[in-house]
Symmetry: C2
Subunit: 204 residues, 2 copies
Amino acid sequence: MKKEKGLLLVLSGPAGVGKGTVCGALRQEETSVQYSVSATTRAPRAGETDGVNYFFKTREQFEKMIEQNELLEWAEYVGNYYGTPIDYVKETINQGNDIILEIEVQGALKVRERFPEGVFIFLMPPSLAELRNRIVGRGTETEDIINKRMTVAREEIDMMKKYDYVVENDQVELAVERIKSIVTAEHCKRERLIDKYKELVEVN
Amino acid sequence: MKKEKGLLLVLSGPAGVGKGTVCGALRQEETSVQYSVSATTRAPRAGETDGVNYFFKTREQFEKMIEQNELLEWAEYVGNYYGTPIDYVKETINQGNDIILEIEVQGALKVRERFPEGVFIFLMPPSLAELRNRIVGRGTETEDIINKRMTVAREEIDMMKKYDYVVENDQVELAVERIKSIVTAEHCKRERLIDKYKELVEVN
């Protein structure tokens, strides 16, 4: 039978919703999902390996990647570039393996333009009050900054309409179970399987 | 928040693939999925209760249901009518509960016409050789009858293209897990949740 392609999964959601925590918990699980390795211009920290934690690049190399359209998405944070190399993603799914990107909302929408067949999952806070609690709980932000972040969060939640799935992050374990179910269900989608089974009907 | 509607799940597949076994195993699991109750003109057997095992009807009553378009699908087997009352299905999903129908391929396609928003799952044998084994294993059919059944099975497998999902029945427990994942994933679909979350963004 024809080998089925892997899935590109994109996990996104408003800042503070817990994307990193959920993705970290998913990594602990026994799944075959692989994790995308980002390219960055920031210096490697102790213990970080090139090609495992990040692909470490000079600014010049990174800018060349941008120019040559080799990044699914990229952004600049605190003077350093971060981005997702398209080749790594393509190789993984062509080998039949699933790969997940954990990414902020704007980046995810850029990935959708290049990879409309990806599976886009929006991680959702149980309520805006709870999201506010999580943002407040992070540190010592002023009321003004918190309000600005909530305005951004509301705009980001509005982006939900561009996603395939919405997963509520009420409890990390439940969110992880939902994501695992989405992966299983996507592999059962008829349009992904029809070529595989066409052979079954025609050859026999 | 607005209450989400339940799902209509339709489990179908070629004769001999094991629909009954898989549906029976799913019933043993702790899920909130309810099972559709069919209407029939056959006489109740000992221990069968009206409204639980079947809705028992006279031929006259059943034919009136057909006329008044009250059945999602119906068929006649060995002189008795069997069908799925549409009201029971609608009431269940309007209450926010999921309901599953286990049904042969032709019936499932009729349900799709009336209920395009249903979730249609095609149960698939691991191979045609294995399906043949299962048909042969059933009893003492002649080679000729077995070949006829295999021709029908191949035509039915071709109907797979009208379904949303394809679940391989390699092992009953695995097939049940896949169906449960499909139910979870369908509840996470953005288009089912958008109304619920719209309120969250607008009200807060």
